[in-house]
Symmetry: C2
Subunit: 479 residues, 2 copies
C-alpha cells in the first residue's frame, strides 16, 4: 500500500487529497480557492475536451469565445440570475491605472453577455438555430474549496443555443444531457443517473434544469453536468427577437448546458483505490508505459532494444502519444512502477532480461494488478484487448456499486436508517415543496438530486410529511 496515501477506509476526504498530491494532478495556488492544474491532471481535462468537443461538433455545434469580463449591469437584467450569482462575483473596479466607471465582473457563467450578442446577431428565423459552445475559465468566489470539486476558478464548457420554438429548445436540452451521459459512461466509465432538478434547485434563470448524478465510493452524490431549458427568460431580458415565418416578431427560446473540471474529481472518487487514481483507458492520454528492467550493461542493451520493439508495436496500434517507455536511469524499476501506478496509467509492460529471452513482456493491469505474459508477436492486439477489458470492468464495478447502494425508503425512519447505516442514494416520495426538501436536508443533510424519468406517475405519500406525492425522487448527501 502507498505510504503517501491515507486509505479510503480511514479518511476518505484525506485519501482524495493524497491521491491528487501523489499523482501530481493539481496543487493549491497562492490565490485562495484557485487551483493549479498540473500536467498529469490537465492531460485528463484535454482528453475530456477532445472527446466532448467531437460529440458537440458531430451534433452541429460550433465553438466561439466571448469576453471574460461582463458589465455588472448585465447580471442584474434577469432577476433570478442576479440573485443566484451576486454573492459569488469577483469584481474588477480598476483597469489601466484608473477606476472604471462601471465595475466589470469576471464571468460566473455567460448567459448574459452571450444573450446580448445573440440579440445583435439574430434577426430572422433563418438565423436560427444558433448552436454555440465555449471552452473557458469561469469564476465563482467560494468560501470552502476543494481541488477540482469546488474552486473559485474552474475550467468548463458552456453551450448556449437559441431556437424558434419551445419544443426545439427542449429537444436540445435533453440531447445535450444525453451526450453528457454517453460521455461519462462510455469514456469515463462513470455510471450516472439523469433527471430533472426540483424547482428550488434549478439554475438561476432556468425554466427546467436537468442534471446527471454519479455515486462516489463514499456513496455521496456528485452532480457531473447540467443542461438547462431557459425558456424565454434570457431572450426577454436581453431582447433576443427574431422575425418569424409568419412575419411576426418573436422571442427566441434558449438553452445552456455545461460540465467542468469537477469531472476529474468525480473520476478520482469513482475509480481510485488506496494506491491512487485509476484512469479508464478510453480517457487516458497515456495508456501504456513500458518499463525496462536490467542490472548489467549487457542486459541494458538487450532490454532497451527489446522494449523499443514492444513500444513500436504498441504505438502502431494505439498511436504514438499513448505509449511511453520509461528510460529514466536514476530510478529503480519498483519506484517507476509506483510512479505510474499513482498516475493511474491503465497498463504497464515490464521487460526484464528473462522476458527478452522469452521474447515477450509482462502486462500488468493498473485496476486489479493482474499480470499476464505476452509474446512480442501480437502484443499490441493483446494490450488493446486488455485495455478494453479494463474499461468494461471499471464501468461494471462502478455500476454494480451504484445499483447496490440505491435503496427505497417507505418511511422517514427507514430513510434515516439508510443514511446512518449503509448510506448511498435513496428513492423516496416527496410532497413537492421546497419547505419539506429543506426540512429533510436540515435533519439528514440529504438533498434531492434528481427526479428520475422512470419514476414518473407513480403516486404515493411523502416520506417526511405524508402528503400526496406524484413520484419518488432521488435523495443523497452530495458534494
Amino acid at each position: 500500500m502507498a505510504k503517501n496515501i491515507t486509505p479510503r477506509a480511514t479518511n476518505f476526504p484525506q485519501w482524495y487529497q493524497d491521491v491528487i498530491a501523489a499523482g501530481e494532478l493539481a496543487d493549491n495556488s497562492p490565490v485562495r480557492g484557485c487551483m493549479v492544474i498540473r500536467p498529469n491532471g490537465y492531460g485528463l481535462w484535454e482528453s475530456m475536451q477532445e472527446k466532448l468537443d467531437r460529440m458537440f461538433k458531430e451534433t452541429g455545434h460550433v465553438n466561439a469565445y466571448f469576453p471574460l469580463l461582463i458589465p455588472q449591469s448585465f447580471i442584474t437584467k434577469e432577476a433570478e440570475h442576479v440573485e443566484g450569482f451576486a454573492p459569488e462575483l469577483a469584481v474588477v473596479t480598476q483597469a489601466g491605472g484608473k477606476e472604471l466607471e462601471e465595475p466589470l465582473v469576471i464571468r460566473p457563467t455567460s448567459e448574459t453577455i452571450i444573450g446580448h450578442m445573440y440579440a445583435k446577431w439574430i434577426q430572422s428565423y433563418r438565423d436560427l438555430p444558433v448552436l454555440i459552445n465555449q471552452w473557458c475559465n469561469v469564476m465563482r468566489w467560494e468560501k470552502r474549496t476543494r481541488l477540482f470539486l469546488r474552486t473559485s476558478e474552474f475550467l468548463w464548457q458552456e453551450g448556449h443555443t437559441a431556437h424558434e420554438t419551445y419544443e426545439e429548445a427542449q429537444e436540445e436540452t435533453l440531447k445535450m444531457l444525453g451526450i453528457y451521459k454517453e460521455f461519462l459512461e462510455d469514456v469515463c466509465a462513470i455510471p450516472v443517473i439523469p433527471g430533472a432538478k426540483p424547482e428550488h434547485e434549478k439554475f438561476p434563470g432556468a425554466v427546467t434544469t436537468y442534471a446527471i448524478e454519479a455515486m462516489m465510493q463514499d456513496k455521496k452524490a456528485l452532480q457531473a453536468a447540467t443542461s438547462h431549458n431557459l425558456g424565454q427568460k434570457f431572450a426577454k431580458a436581453f431582447e433576443i427577437k427574431y422575425l418569424g415565418r409568419d412575419n411576426q416578431e418573436e422571442l427566441a427560446w434558449t438553452t445552456s448546458w455545461g460540465c467542468t473540471t469537477r469531472m476529474i474529481g468525480g473520476l478520482i472518487m469513482t475509480h481510485g483505490d488506496d494506491d491512487g487514481i485509476i484512469v479508464p483507458p478510453r480517457l487516458a492520454p497515456l495508456q501504456v508505459v513500458v518499463i525496462p528492467i536490467y542490472k548489467t550493461e549487457e542486459e541494458k542493451l538487450a532490454v532497451l532494444d527489446f522494449a523499443d520493439q514492444v513500444a513500436l508495436r504498441l504505438r502502431a496500434k494505439l498511436s504514438n502519444l499513448k505509449v511511453k517507455v520509461d528510460y529514466r536511469e536514476d530510478m529503480r524499476p519498483a519506484d517507476k512502477f509506483f510512479t505510474w501506478i499513482q498516475r493511474g496509467i491503465p497498463l504497464r509492460v515490464e521487460i526484464g532480461p528473462k522476458d527478452v529471452q522469452n521474447k515477450g513482456g509482462m502486462l500488468v493491469r493498473r485496476d486489479n494488478r493482474q499480470k499476464v505474459f505476452c509474446a512480442l508477436e501480437g502484443i499490441e492486439e493483446k494490450a488493446a484487448e486488455i485495455l478494453e477489458n479494463i474499461q468494461a470492468d471499471l464501468f461494471k464495478k462502478a455500476g454494480d456499486f451504484m445499483r447496490e447502494n440505491i435503496r427505497p425508503a417507505e418511511t422517514y425512519q427507514e430513510f434515516k436508517d439508510i443514511l446512518a447505516g449503509p448510506g448511498g442514494f435513496i428513492l423516496a416520495h416527496w410532497d413537492g415543496t421546497k419547505q419539506t426538501a429543506e426540512l429533510i436536508q436540515s435533519e439528514t443533510k440529504a438533498t434531492i438530486r434528481v427526479v428520475p424519468e422512470d419514476e414518473k406517475d407513480k403516486p404515493g405519500k411523502c416520506v417526511r410529511t405524508g402528503k400526496p406525492s406524484s413520484q419518488r425522487v432521488l435523495f443523497a448527501v452530495a458534494y
Copy 2:
C-alpha cells in the same frame, strides 16, 4: 467586387474591419476593448491551436493550467516586469461580496505565478527540465484597440520552461522560435523574418527577446510570436532553486514564449483580397464547400444526389469535417458563393444539372478564382492537389511581396524616401542606442523590428548618427 468591403487601395484599415465583419470572424463586445471571437474566427484559432499543440507535444512539452488571478505583490517582484506591465493591469478589488485584503490582477502573462509554483515543484536537477505550456486568456488594458490585433483580452499560449544551464535555456528559446516560424510558414503560409529584439524592445524581465516579423499587404510589420530567454531573473525573484549535480544549490534558467489570436489578424492582412479573407488550406477548418445548383424539382433530386457522391469522395480523402455541402434552400447559388468567398474557404465545387450529365463538378479556387472541370472519378485527388497548390501559391505570393519590399538604406534620406515612397521593411545600420532608435521612430514612425541573424558582423555606420554600427537591423512601421 464585394459591396460590403472597402477596397484595400481605398482604405486599408477600413478594409480590415470590413473583412472581419463580412466573414463574421469577430465582433466588438459591450466591454470596451474586448472582442467576441465568432465561430468563423474561432475555428481558425482552434486550427492554429491544434497544429501548434502537436508541435509543442512532439518536442516534449506538456500543458497545464495556472490561475487567472495573480496577487498584486507578485508582479512587483521582478523590477523590469512590473514597470512593463503595471500600466496595463485590470485589478479585482472585491470578491464574494467583500473587499479583498490584497488586490488581485488578471494575468497579463504568467511568469510570476508560474515562477512561484516552479519554486515549489523544482528541488533537484532531476526535476529539470520543466517544459510546460498553457493555453489561456490574458488581459492587458489597452487604450486603442483593433479586433485580433490589439485587444484588452486576448487568447494565447504561453510556454514556461526551466533548465539546468544557460545553454539549455538558450537552445529552448531558439527551438520555440523555430517552431513558430515553421508553423507560420508551413501552415499559415505567412513568410516571417526571425531575429533578436534590440535591448530596449525586450519583454519586461527578459535577457534576450526573439521575435518573428511578418509583412502585411500595407507593408507594415506585424510581430507574430516571441520567445524569451529570461536568464535567472525570474528564478531569482521567485527563488526557483535546485540542488545541482555537484550538490550545490543553483538558480534555474528559465524561458517563456508565446503567440496569440493576433495571428488571425496577420492571416487576414497577409492573404486577404478585396472580397475578404483567404484561408490557407492547411489551416482551414473547412476546406471545400460543395454547392448544388438547380431550378426544377427534377434537377434538384439529381443534383443533390450527385453532390452527395462528390462529398463522399472528398470526405474519404480530406476527412469528414473538412467538407460541407451547402443544402440551404432559401438562398440563391450566387449568394452562397458570396458567403463562402467571404469566409475564405479555399475551394468551392459547383454542381449543376449539366455537371451531373457530364459526371463531374466545377472546382473553383478562392485565391485566384481559377475554374477547372473535374470528373467524379478522382475528384478527391484533384481537389487535394489543388488545395496543396493554393497553399504553395499563397506562400509564394506573400514571400515574393515581402522580398520585393525589403530595401537597404545607406543614408537617412534614402531611409525616409523609402518610407515616404514604396514603404516596406528597411535594412539599415544603427548605432545600437535606444536614443537613436527613439529619434528615428519620432521622425519616421519606423521601429527596429529585429536584428537578423544573417546580418551579423557586417559593420558599417549608423544611418541616422553616422556612428559605428556592428550590423544592419530591420526597420519598419509596425502594428
